[in-house]
Symmetry: C2
Amino acid sequence: MAAPRSVAAALRRTRLSSRCRCTHTIFTPTVVQTPRHFSITTSNRADPYKKIQLTAAAYPQIKRDPRFAEVTKEHVQYFKQLLGTDSALIDGVNADATDDLAPFNSDWMRKYGGQTRLVLRPQTAEEVSKILKYCNENKLAVVPQGGNTGLVGGSVPVFDEIVINTARMNKIRSFDQESGVLVADAGVILEVADAHVGEHGYLFPLDLGAKGSCHIGGNVATNAGGLRLLRYGSLHGNVLGLEAVLPDGTIIDSLSTLRKNNTGYDFKQLFIGAEGTIGIVTGVSILCPPRAKAVNVAYFGLESYEQVRKAFREAKGQLSEILSAFELMDGRSQGIVRESTGNKPPLEGEYPFYCLIETSGSNTEHDLAKLESFLEHVLGEGIVADGVLAQDETQIQSLWRWREGITESLSHLGGTYKYDVSIPLPELYQLVEDCKNRLTEKGLVGDDDSFPVRAVVGYGHMGDSNLHLNVSVRQYTKEVEKAIEPWVYEWIAKRNGSISAEHGLGIAKKEFIGYSQNDTNIKLMKQLKNLYDPNGIMNPYKYI
Amino acid sequence: MAAPRSVAAALRRTRLSSRCRCTHTIFTPTVVQTPRHFSITTSNRADPYKKIQLTAAAYPQIKRDPRFAEVTKEHVQYFKQLLGTDSALIDGVNADATDDLAPFNSDWMRKYGGQTRLVLRPQTAEEVSKILKYCNENKLAVVPQGGNTGLVGGSVPVFDEIVINTARMNKIRSFDQESGVLVADAGVILEVADAHVGEHGYLFPLDLGAKGSCHIGGNVATNAGGLRLLRYGSLHGNVLGLEAVLPDGTIIDSLSTLRKNNTGYDFKQLFIGAEGTIGIVTGVSILCPPRAKAVNVAYFGLESYEQVRKAFREAKGQLSEILSAFELMDGRSQGIVRESTGNKPPLEGEYPFYCLIETSGSNTEHDLAKLESFLEHVLGEGIVADGVLAQDETQIQSLWRWREGITESLSHLGGTYKYDVSIPLPELYQLVEDCKNRLTEKGLVGDDDSFPVRAVVGYGHMGDSNLHLNVSVRQYTKEVEKAIEPWVYEWIAKRNGSISAEHGLGIAKKEFIGYSQNDTNIKLMKQLKNLYDPNGIMNPYKYI
């Protein structure tokens, strides 16, 4: 449907005629299992049809570093004594433990395959300290691992690195109801942390699809961005303090709970986004904002990317302090969700672009008034072609699933080449168009099974200039990969974008860092790596 | 006046009866010259009655480092050729230039006195690079200096360090109206930067009293906090990129304009708050939020600090996303402003505590409704004893001056021992009480001139747990100083507070860092200092 001529009528229609046709029954857990709720199973055999390729085979240019020792029975004996209980380690050295080790040797996408034979699960910073000191002295390489929900293979071993998993460091240490400051172990699950502060009217200032599994320590180590960075800002601003352990066993106790503390270099910032390459985060102190009493979600169809940009400008101006998310989904991404789930879309017509807007504020009436005024404006001006406004929490969840369900729906189609990038807004979506054209010109895209590429889709966090470019393929082929890479990185570098907006480098993007960082910066990063981890035992083969 | 019995009447009275008796004429620039508008004069002779003590004399334990060379005529010749114009340097080596050098050799409080004989004023990062490379090779110590508005002597030389002033690096490089990202030279004055983005409906996410003089590069280098950190967060979250020069001349070009960029260690964070000890910030990329269309300010009197805490909790809960400042002033601080200015106070009665609340939002009507509901609640519950709400911009400015004018009013009384500290909220104000009791017990406080201490006052950014403890003295004496220090730092350390919330370390707090940082952290800081500045030429004798 085109932009209604009558703004008032359009608005009335939007609000009053139960336009939101997403009902609770449309999305049942059995139909759409969004990443928000996935969890690590104890065995990968649950999905036997999808064989995991060893990362070492997928990246034959990476060789095991001969400086590193192999784990021996004596090493295992030391760790058993140190940790005191059998449940604190999974020992594949003294016996076959392939199945038990499997979930630690791969990721939830089953894309990366490691070969660890030992998983350690310490409970305290002191235990982590003793582990790292021993590993450092004995040249044993390690991989820190939280909820293992990353997308770039950062938390999965490549060879036989020891996995140090934070799952047993899962205590909430304190929460101050007056200041909103939470102090917790690194292994606390994000959803648990959020629920804890939620009981006191606060919100964990980070939300992402994997919240049911990911650890807050991992969030910090990867500088996770997520759905509401637009509103609550980055972890560099919200993390007030950290406890971390350096490779030599030094415990950094910098767990300040103060908003302001200008007494020296803020070196804890280096751990935010270091992906476990200079130390292991064991505790986090974070500032939580008051939880919004009123949350509203609207979903729009738009005729062009230019209209999306206009809508975003209007939303920033008119919704301002209550805007908590502005998400972009292209038409193809929503078609794939529809096909995958069989659900009826929120809007009757089809549009080349869709947006999801969320507001979070302290007063329902005020927020609705602002949102309605915004709707009236963007509908009246023809910026937005059609839209619906969720009427209750169920509809809010349903609308969100049209955004959050994209990853899951794509995964049902086969493989996906995923690119998580930052691009200045004017050209943000152009990357999807250019990529689609390029692959089409090369004869790689088509509807029948003879073409490797099924679809090129784009979606992401418009409010953060963060695009997720996804190339859905029937099978992974070198031909497609070569057509995309390094072309995609060159395209981004020309626009001064980032080849990794929020997913990090891990192993997937390690070799492409030069597209987003100049030689000086890379040299300085290597200098820091050498300063803190001269033996290179921390998460080797990755990052820089 | 006690808490009104009738909430409705109180509210009506607050809003409708022109209760705000601060009018424009009360505060004229000739009566109160707040720090907001102070500027660096070209000569200190403007204030001849106040002789500046040399820092080297005030801190006799600090000796000039013999590793550093003295500036020679040959050095000056090199810099003249490099910078190309005479106006780019002030040369006290070839001729007497005491008067011209004076403003660079002291601070606006006239508390610190340096002995530089050479001021360099480069215009580009390339010039800064060549200067630093030359200084590093020739062992010439330097002091980076922005607007020189600091409070801890960080930007004033101690001996004959060369001053590298950023005033001529004053170009706005770009502003993106869509993303709100400003890129500007380090020497742009904060107020100029704010005005520039203000033309496009945005706000610089930092505001402080010295905005008319301070440079944004200096703000970043000192991790300035200011009045609205509560709302817009710290520079660690808002600074997206930096351009900086290391002592060896390396130019770090990390001027990203992206909100998200997870491609390596975020080492630019180290420069935020490093006070010019590892390099010089030459360019800043910063994210600006939309400028609030509606700003409201209320001023309250309260009967106890417990009531202040309650009011803050209520404000956080009820004003939530529109709360942009919650400032605390004790009764004595307001009395001093009244005596200094002769102005009529906003409230009729006198109270032991006062608060200033500011809201910033996008809808005047909504914000007023929230504020009125809040007022009704806190008046009705007896949390707040009396209050006024500014009716227009002039009244807003007038009310703010009761907070911002404290520093200026104190300075008219004589000397002030200033402590800028973070303390968990429950005990925030207890420090003022304890300090007052301590000095009183020692017989140091009194109304007549025989007592060295005139008053102990407390005020600050309640929303950030940031207290400014000020001890107003008739004269600086060792007796008073010894009574306060290190007792005050011990008091703070016991409560896990910070001895410097936002002012930094400079020279004033260098020796006390151990009260807020443990040995491990200090060791790690020294390691970073040595990594980037092995010759120690950057801002020596300060920080760590």
